[in-house]
Subunit: 637 residues, 2 copies
C-alpha cells in the first residue's frame, strides 16, 4: 500500500474529490484503486492509504506488459485472459505479483491520474487544472501533497534482511529477493557491487602474493600494470553479460523502450508533444538555455579551482611539516608528518560531498526536459570533478614530480581515511541518528491510532531514499584508485576489497532501516555508469602504459632502446592494447547466445502473432460483408 500525506490545511471537499477520483473507474478517467482516509490531525495532516485489488493489479500488469514465466518455462508478457497458464498463478495467486511490482503498478496508475473538465482543484482556486493535467503533480506544486511513500512489508522485509545481512555472506546476495522487494534498479546496483567485490577478491589475493614475493622498492610494477588492463577489460565484459542475463530473467529485455514523459521538475510552457500529440510542458524551439549552462560551467570551473587551491595548500603544508620533522625528531613529528596527508584526505571528502549537493542544484537549474538527460548531465558533472579532486594530486605527484613514494603514501592515506571516515559519515552516524529519531517517532505515535497507523506515521517521519548516485560514485572512486595506482601501491586492491565488503553490508542496512521504502524503478542495465566505467578503463590503459614506460623493470628489459625509442615503444604498445581491447569488445557478444535466441524467438513469435491478427481481422470483415449481404438477400426474399 502507498501513503499519500496531505497538508493539514486541505479542506474536506478537496479530500473527498481526490478520493473519488482515485476510486473512479478507469474508463471514466480514474485510477480504479482502493483508497481510505486513515487519519486526520493538525500535526500530521491528512493520511490517505491507497491499495489495489488483485484483479485490478493483474489488469494493470497486462497493460504495462509485465513479463512473467509461462507454464512451459519461457517468459511472456502477462495476459489477463490467459492468466491460468502462467507459472505459479493457480497455486499462489497472492504472490504472483511481487510486492515491488504491485507498488510499481499502483504508482503508475496514480501518476497517470489526470484532470478532466475541472478548472482548478476544488476549494483551491490557485491550483489550476486543465484537461489532461497531472493531478498529483499539481497537488505537490501547490503544497497540498506533502509526501507520497510506499509502506514497508515487514514480513517480507524481515525475511529479506535475514538472508541478506543476517549471516555473513559476502558473495551470495539474495539479488532476486532484493529485486522483488526494491525493484530492478537497486537490485542491479547490489549485484554490480557484489560482482565487483568478487572480482576484487581474486585480484587482492593475487596482489598479496605479488606484494610478498617481489621486493618492495619498485616504482610502478610492470606485471601489475598489465594485470590492471586485463582485469578491468574482463571485469566489464563479464559484467555486461551477467547484467543482461539478469535483466533477461526479470523480463526487462523483452520490453520496448517507453516513451519518456517530461520529468517532474521540468518547467516549460504547455504545448503539444510532437511525438505523442499529448498536452504537456514542452521546450520552445527557439529557447536558448545558454545562460544556465554558463552558470553550470562557471560552477564547475570554480569548484576545480577550489580543488587546485586545496592541493597547493596541501603541498605547502607538506613542505612545512617536512621542515619541522627535519628539525624535531620525536614521536610528535611522526604525527605531524602524517597530518597534511590526513587533512588533505578529509578535505577531499568534504569537497566531494559539498560538490555533490551543489551539482544537483545546478543541474536542476539547467531545466532538462527528460529525466534521462538530467541524470546524464548530473553524472557528467560529478565524474569530471570527482576525477580531478580525488586523483589530480596523485597524477601530479606521479607524472610531474615522478615521486612514487609520495604517491604510494597518498593513495594509502586517502584510501584508508576515505574508508573510515566516509562510512562513518554515510552509514553509522545516520543509523544512529535514525535510531533516536525512530524512538521519538514511536513514542509520539503510540498515543495515536492502531498499529498500522503507527507504522504509517513512523515511516513518514523517515527521510526519502536519495537514489543510487552517491553509492555508484563511491564504487567509481574505489575503481579509480585501484585501476590507476595499484601498480604503485599494490595493496590498493586489498583496501578496495575490504571497503566493498563493508559497503555491501552498510548499503543494505541503510536501505532497509534508515529510509522510507523507495518506489521500485525498472531498469535493464546500470545505465550511464556502464559508460563511466568504460571511460575509466580506457584512461587506465593510458595511465598504466605510462607507468609501465617509467618503471625501472621495463627499462631494464628493453635496455637497448634509449630515450625517444623507448617512449615510441611504450606508445606503440599502448595503441596495440587499445586496439586489442576494442577488438575484444566487438568480438564478445554482450548477450549470451541462448538468451539472444530466446529473445529473437519471442520477437519472431509476436511478429507472427501480429500478422495472424491482421489476417483474422480481414477475415472477420469479409465475413461481416457476407453476413450483411446474406441478410439483405433474406430481407428481399
Amino acid at each position: 500500500v502507498i501513503v499519500l500525506q496531505l497538508s493539514s490545511r486541505t479542506k474536506m471537499n478537496t479530500i473527498n474529490w481526490l478520493i473519488s477520483r482515485i476510486q473512479e473507474e478507469k474508463l471514466l478517467g480514474g485510477a480504479e484503486l482502493l483508497c481510505k482516509l486513515a487519519y486526520v490531525s493538525h500535526k500530521d495532516g491528512v493520511i490517505l492509504l491507497i491499495g489495489g485489488t488483485l484483479e485490478r493489479l493483474l489488469h494493470g500488469a497486462e497493460e504495462k506488459e509485465l513479463v512473467k514465466q509461462y507454464k512451459d518455462g519461457t517468459l511472456k508478457p502477462f495476459l489477463y485472459h490467459d492468466r491460468n497458464n502462467f507459472h505459479d498463478f493457480k497455486n499462489k495467486k497472492q504472490l504472483f505479483l511481487t510486492s515491488g511490482e504491485c507498488l510499481q503498478l499502483i504508482k503508475h496508475d496514480l501518476d497517470n491520474l489526470r484532470a478532466r473538465q475541472e478548472k482548478h482543484v476544488p476549494e483551491v482556486p490557485y491550483a489550476k487544472l486543465y484537461p489532461g493535467k497531472n493531478i498529483l503533480n499539481t497537488l505537490a506544486t501547490s503544497g497540498l501533497l506533502v509526501q507520497m511513500y510506499p509502506l514497508h512489508n515487514f514480513e517480507e522485509l524481515e525475511t529479506l534482511k535475514e538472508v541478506w545481512y543476517g549471516k555473513v555472506q559476502v558473495f551470495s546476495q539474495p539479488i532476486n529477493a532484493v529485486r522483488n522487494y526494491f525493484g530492478e534498479s537497486i537490485a542491479l546496483y547490489f549485484s554490480f557491487l557484489g560482482f565487483f567485490t568478487l572480482s576484487l577478491f581474486y585480484r587482492s589475493i593475487f596482489s598479496l602474493i605479488l606484494y610478498f614475493l617481489t621486493d618492495k622498492t619498485f616504482n610502478g610494477n610492470m606485471l601489475m600494470a598489465i594485470i590492471n588492463i586485463v582485469w578491468s577489460t574482463i571485469f566489464l565484459e563479464c559484467w555486461k553479460r551477467k547484467s543482461n542475463k539478469m535483466a533477461f530473467q526479470w523480463g526487462m529485455l523483452h520490453r520496448v523502450e517507453e516513451f519518456e514523459e517530461p520529468r517532474k521538475g521540468f518547467e516549460g510552457p504547455l504545448g503539444i508533444n510532437p511525438v505523442t500529440g499529448k498536452k504537456e510542458p514542452i521546450r520552445l524551439p527557439g529557447e536558448w538555455r545558454s545562460l544556465n549552462f554558463i552558470h553550470s560551467f562557471l560552477f564547475v570551473s570554480f569548484s576545480l579551482l577550489v580543488s587546485v587551491l586545496m592541493m597547493l595548500a596541501y603541498l605547502w603544508a607538506k613542505t612545512l611539516a617536512e621542515k619541522y620533522c627535519a628539525i624535531h625528531r620525536n614521536t610528535q613529528s611522526y604525527v605531524i608528518a602524517v597530518l597534511p596527508n590526513v587533512g588533505y584526505a578529509i578535505g577531499v571528502i568534504i569537497l566531494n560531498r559539498t560538490y555533490l549537493k551543489l551539482a544537483r542544484v545546478f543541474t536542476e537549474w539547467e531545466n532538462h526536459r527528460l529525466a534521462s538527460t538530467h541524470e546524464y548531465h548530473l553524472v557528467a558533472k560529478l565524474l569530471l570533478f570527482y576525477f580531478f579532486n580525488n586523483f589530480g594530486l596523485l597524477f601530479y605527484a606521479a607524472f610531474y614530480m615522478q615521486d612514487f613514494t609520495e604517491v604510494s603514501e597518498d593513495v594509502a592515506t586517502q584510501l584508508i581515511t576515505y574508508q573510515i571516515l566516509d562510512q562513518i559519515m554515510k552509514s553509522i552516524v545516520p543509523y544512529w541518528i535514525n535510531k533516536r529519531k525512530l524512538k521519538k517517532l514511536k513514542q509520539s505515535s503510540e498515543t495515536r491510532g492502531g498499529p498500522v497507523l503507527q507504522h504509517v506515521l513512523i515511516e513518514g517521519g523517515l527521510d526519502a531514499y536519495k537514489g543510487l548516485i552517491d553509492d555508484y560514485l563511491e564504487m567509481f572512486l574505489m575503481f579509480g584508485y585501484m585501476m590507476f595506482f595499484s601498480s604503485i601501491f599494490p595493496l590498493a586492491s586489498v583496501c578496495c576489497f575490504l571497503n566493498s565488503i563493508t559497503e555491501i553490508q552498510l548499503s543494505a542496512l541503510k536501505l532497509c532501516d534508515n529510509f522510507q521504502r523507495p518506489f521500485p524503478v525498472p531498469a535493464s542495465n546500470i545505465g550511464i555508469w556502464q559508460l563511466a566505467f568504460k571511460c575509466f578503463v580506457i584512461l587506465a590503459i593510458i595511465v598504466n602504459c605510462a607507468f609501465l614506460g617509467m618503471s625501472a623493470e621495463f627499462q631494464a628489459v628493453f635496455g637497448d632502446y634509449t630515450g625517444i625509442h623507448l617512449i615510441i615503444l611504450v606508445f606503440t604498445f599502448e595503441h596495440l592494447i587499445m586496439g586489442f581491447v576494442t577488438l575484444i569488445e566487438h568480438l564478445i557478444p554482450d548477450v549470451p547466445k541462448n538468451i539472444e535466441i530466446q529473445l529473437k524467438k519471442f520477437e519472431y513469435e509476436s511478429r507472427q502473432a501480429l500478422k495472424c491478427e491482421k489476417l483474422q481481422q480481414t477475415y472477420i470483415k469479409d465475413n461481416q460483408k457476407l453476413f450483411s449481404s446474406a441478410q439483405r438477400r433474406e430481407r428481399q426474399i
Copy 2:
C-alpha cells in the same frame, strides 16, 4: 518482368509443374504470379517470363510493409484497403510502385516458393524435395535453373541514363531515380561516392591554394595534417546524417529488421531453426570449423608474404636503377628511374585483383550461415590485405627510412598508375568487349522470335552484376591515399577528386550497359563500409599526428621541447584529438532531429494502434458472448 532460364534438358512435365506452382494461389502455397513459357530451343534452353498483376503486387507491398507517402505527406506502411489515401495512387496507379519495388516483390515471392508434399521435382528423381524446401534453390543446385535475371525497362533506363551521365553533372546525380530503378543499396553507393566527390572538391581547392602558396620543400605539412583529421571527421559525420535522411525518405528506417534466412551458398544438415521453428539448413552446435579458418588464415598470411616479397623486389630494383642512372645520364635513364615505381604500382594492382578473387573463394569455404557474416568476413580479409599491400611500402618509407621525397614520388606514381590502369581494366576494356559481345548476340538473336524475346536473349548473354565490393574497395583506397599521405603529397586529394569524377561516370556506364539488371537490394546504410571508413579515420589520426611530430614546422614551433618531451607532446596531442573526435561523435546525433521526431511519432502511433486493436478484440469477444447468450435466450423463448 523476371526471366527464368532453364536448362534445355528440362522435361515438359517439369516445366508445366513449375509454371503451375508459380501461377497457383497464395493460399495453396503458390506464388500467384503470371508466368509464360516464351521460348524453347536446344541452344538457349527454356525461357520462362514471370510478372505480376498490379493487384497482386499491391497485396505483396502490404505484406512486405513497403513504406509509401500518405496523402498528408507522412510516410506509412502501405495498406491495401487504404490504398486510395496514399499519395499519387489514384492518378498514377501504374507508377505507384517503382520498377525496382516490383522486381523486389516478385523476387521475394519466387524465393519463397516452397515444396508441398512432392518427394522430388517431377521427372527429376535426384532433385529431392520435402515440405517447405525452397524450389528455386533445388532447381539451381540440380542444374536445371541456369539463371534468373530481371529484364531492363528500356524506357525508364534511357530516361535515367540521360539525366545521369548524358550531361556533365558531377554533383547532382538523380539518386532517387537510381533508387527507383536499381534499389537502395546501389543508390546509397552512388550517393556516397557523390558526397565523397563533393567533399573532395572543396578539399582539393584548399590543397591547391596551399600547394601554390607554401614552399615545396616541406616534409609533412603541419596544416595539412590538421586539415586531414578535421575533414575526415566532419565528412563521416555528415555522411551518416545524409545517409539516414535518404534512408528515411525511402522508408528504410521504418522497417523492423528482417529475420535473416541462411544464405544460398550455406551448406549444413537440415534442422529446425531455434528462433523461427522453420526447417532449414542449420549449423550443428558442436561443429568446429577451425580447419576452414586455418586455411583462410594461411591464405591471408601467404598473401601478405607475397606482398612483402614484392616490396623487397621493388627496393632491389630501385637500387639497381639508381646505380644505372648514376653512371648513364641520358634520356633513357629517366625512363629507367621511373620503371621500378611503375612496375610496383602495376604489381600492387594485379595482387589486389587476384586477392579479391581468392578471398571470395576462401570466404565461401568458411561456410557462413548468414549472408551478413559472410560479407563481414570477406570485407575484413580484403581490408587487411589492401591496407598492407597498398600502403605498406609507403609507411615503411615514411617511418623507417624517413624519406619523404620517396614517399611523395611513390604516392604520385601509385595514384596516377592506379587511376589510368585500373579504370581501363575495370571499365573501358569490359565496355569494349561487351560491345562486341552485344553485336554477336544481336546477330544471333535476330533470327529468332519477336523483339521482346530478342532482348531476353541478349540480356541473358550478359554477365550478372557482381555487387559493390570492388567499387567500395576502390573508394577505400582513394580515401586512404588521401588521409595518410596528403600531408606529404598535397596533390593527392586533387588526384582522388579527378578519379572520383570519372569513377561516377564509369560505374554508372558499367551498371547500365555492361551487366544484366541487378535485383534491387533494400538497405538502410552502407553497412560494414561505414565501420571500415571509421577505422581509417582513427588510423589517420595516429598517422597524421606522427607526421606532425616529424615535420620541421612543428619542431620549429615547439623549439623549446627536445627529443623525449617533443614526442610526449605529440602523443598527448594525439590522445586529445582522439578524445575530442569521440566526443564529437557522441554529441552529434546520427539522425537529424526532425526525422527522429517523425520516426518516434510513427512508432508511437503504431504502438497505440496495437493497443486499440487489442481493446477492440476484447470488445468483439464480449459482444459475441452477449450475442450468443441473446440467441440462446431467444431459442428458449
